[in-house]
């Protein structure tokens, strides 16, 4: 060891006059833009929140009191409830750097199981409901097993199961719609999410909207205050590092997809509450709409960064644009245009913010 000692002494000599400062990151580019970038990196929900506020102001000017009324603002909340709930499920998946194209199909399949069993087959509604929710969980579990154990890319897995669950929808429903009145007469519990509570000033809250907020709060807690939540972020950010750190990424992924399936089943309950009927048609773009909400809400499609609150804001932004533009008398075509532009801007911003860590 004497060699080492003398060697370091020589090295110490060579360091004479060198800086004594501890190694640190360069902070020399701290201009105002850099500060904004840094702020947005720390608060991923800041942009969707700002967009929402600016949007409300613009539409309040453009469409006047028809838009900026308690009733209408609560209406937008009602209109985005289904996409909001599906968006929560989608956020969990996207945080693991995955994507779930089957969320809409899982939702409709669960609703059809609930509706057919209770109204057509005469099964007690509580049992039908549990089996419907079980269907959602099972679908999610299948996705999770294929992604985590068979190690297929999530895009491929859910592209396949989207088609499979879609076929099951047609098979089980016999392509028939169950009418709202029949459900109200036989299985009113399925429509419970449509129950309405009048707030002051004309605003109306549905049970579905409240449940959406409740699910969001629960998932927020899981993501931010539990080990499972940290594992989700870690798995999405760098699965190899997460694995080396002792996280069981396989079970984390299976857990995430199964939980997403469960949330999709809850979305089916919200869906029946909102449209009354159980229909094999409709909600066909719900999977893409949920991804839209997640992306506009500032969650990165590349995993590991984002939040549930952002997704709810993202869904509200889309709902607000559609509602506000319609009330301002703008053609439907331009509503779609605006939503598309928002997606591009959201991803551009995400990429720009990511540069701070590059």
């Amino acid at each position: 060891m004497s060699d080492d000692a003398s060697g370091s002494a020589v090295a110490e000599k060579g360091l004479a006059g060198a800086t004594q400062a501890v190694a640190s990151f360069e902070e020399d580019r701290k201009g105002p833009i850099r500060q904004v970038q840094s702020f947005l990196h720390s608060y991923p929900t800041a942009i969707p929140f700002i967009v929402l506020i600016v949007g409300i102001i613009i539409f309040s000017i453009a469409a006047g009191s028809k838009f900026f009324a308690p009733f209408n603002l609560s209406l937008v909340l009602q209109q985005v409830t289904i996409i909001g709930v599906l968006g929560i499920a989608q956020t969990l998946i996207i945080l693991t750097a995955g994507i779930d194209l089957s969320v809409g199909a899982i939702m409709i399949l669960s609703s059809i199981v609930m509706g057919r069993l209770s109204v057509v087959a005469g099964v007690p509604v509580e049992i039908s409901f549990v089996l419907g929710v079980g269907t959602g969980i099972l679908c999610g579990l299948i996705n999770g097993l294929l992604v985590a154990l068979v190690k297929l890319p999530p895009f491929i897995v859910t592209l396949g199961t989207w088609s499979i669950y879609g076929a099951m929808i047609i098979f089980i429903s016999n392509s028939e719609t169950i009418r709202s009145q029949d459900i109200a007469a036989i299985a009113p519990m399925l429509q419970w999410m449509g129950a309405r509570v009048a707030l002051g000033g004309g605003a109306i809250l549905t049970a579905g909207s409240m449940v959406m907020i409740l699910i969001a709060a629960t998932v927020w807690y899981v993501l931010n205050r539990t080990a499972f939540g940290r594992h989700i972020y870690a798995t999405g950010d760098d699965p190899e590092a997460a694995r080396l750190a002792g996280i069981n990424t396989t079970w984390t992924l299976i857990g995430v997809y199964t939980l997403a399936g469960f949330i999709c089943a809850l979305a089916s309950w919200v869906l029946i509450g909102r449209v009354g009927a159980v229909s094999p048609l409709g909600s066909q773009t719900a999977n893409l709409d949920s991804i839209t909400a997640v992306v506009i809400g500032g969650t990165s499609l590349f995993g590991g960064r984002g939040s549930i609150v952002g997704t709810l804001l993202g869904a509200l932004i889309v709902g607000m644009f559609r509602n506000g533009l319609a009330l301002a008398g703008v053609d439907v075509l331009w509503q779609e245009f605006a939503v598309g532009a928002l997606i591009i801007i959201a991803v551009t911003t995400d990429q720009w913010i990511r540069k701070i860590s590059a």
Partner: protein
């Protein structure tokens, strides 16, 4: 499609043709291509075609798009039918104009092409069209709505719940037919949205489904709180609109909802007073007539004729309502339920 897939597909088709010609030299193959599997209208159509094909002793091959508007799957279906040596086919086009070149290929290959329900653009791109007169179906509900309101029709406030932004033929035909029946100046009769009648609150898209119907109705009610007439492209959209009216406490009969299709859930909704009147059409009839026409063509080479004064064969539309209006012919819900589909 990759090169390998193309070669593989071509190989499979050739094998199929060789086996097919050897084993079933006498077989008459006919095709039925619908928009989707998920819509009861098309399910009924397929059932009607299958029953008639069995009766006539011909072989039916059915195809469908993956979603409403899926042109690619329909093109592939036509190519498959040409390859399998079919005598002809019936198609409900998802895209009325984009499918035309492929249909021309089929006709050049000697197949009889019959279009069902949604006319092509141009309509004579097919050998024949068997359809509900969608414009007439719209006119019937428009006349009924105007007749029900009486003098109040002059001050009506109308919500238009349409299908899709790209305005497929069935969409504008029903929409503009309704306006004509109601007495609105439609401007260009093959396009909606260019009218300037103050009674129209606005057009919103529903996708022809309940969820879209509800959202569209909520938005239009917010725009015009005094809406009292609702036109809907089909009965699922009408059911969704009714949910919105119910939520707003306006399900007291003060708002007239009219629709088109005549499916069994829709007719039941007319009976329950959810929908005031609907125009019923007959998918089973369309499909079975198409099978007969193709069989006849295979046997004799004779092509089907069109209805006098029209450029297509009208399979009929009847107004279903329990509140008839003088001067507008209609059937009641009991009769409608006997004839309904889905």
């Amino acid at each position: 499609m990759g090169k390998f897939l193309k070669i593989a597909a071509a190989g499979a088709v050739m094998l199929g043709m060789m086996c097919g010609t050897a084993a079933y030299a006498q077989e008459v193959i006919v095709g039925l291509i619908t928009k989707t599997e998920g819509n009861p209208f098309f399910v009924k159509m397929r059932e009607g075609a299958q029953a008639k094909a069995d009766e006539l002793g011909i072989t039916l091959q059915t195809f469908a798009g993956k979603f409403d508007g899926d042109n690619d799957s329909q093109i592939a279906a036509i190519e498959n039918l040409i390859a399998s040596g079919a005598k002809g086919f019936a198609i409900v086009p998802s895209d009325s104009s984009a499918i035309v070149p492929t249909i021309q290929q089929a006709r050049d290959a000697g197949l009889l092409v019959i279009v069902l329900d949604t006319p092509l653009d141009p309509i004579d791109a097919a050998d024949a069209t068997f359809a509900t007169d969608n414009r007439q179906a719209g006119r019937l509900i428009g006349q009924w709505a105007a007749g029900s309101l009486g003098d109040a029709a002059a001050n009506a406030k109308i919500a238009m719940l349409d299908l899709a932004v790209n305005q497929p033929t069935v969409d504008y035909l029903r929409d503009q037919g309704f306006m004509e029946g109601f007495g609105i100046d439609v401007k260009d009769p093959n396009k909606y949205g260019d009218e300037d009648d103050a009674r129209i609150c606005g057009h919103e898209m529903t996708g022809g489904a309940e969820d879209g119907g509800r959202t569209a109705m909520e938005t239009l009610m917010q725009k015009c709180p005094d809406i009292n007439v609702v036109y809907t492209i089909n009965e699922p959209a009408a059911a969704g609109a009714y949910e919105a009216l119910k939520a707003a406490g306006r399900d007291d009969g003060s708002v007239l909802i009219v629709s088109v299709d005549g499916g069994c859930p829709g007719v039941a909704n007319v009976k329950d007073g959810v929908i005031g009147a609907t125009s019923q059409q007959y998918p089973l009839l369309m499909a079975s007539m198409a099978m007969e026409a193709i069989k006849k063509f295979a046997d004799t080479g004779e092509k089907p004729a069109v209805t006098e004064g029209l450029d297509f064969f009208d399979t009929g539309a009847a107004l279903v309502t329990d509140k008839p209006v003088a001067g507008v012919e209609s059937i009641d819900t009991t009769k409608g339920a006997e004839l309904c589909w889905g």
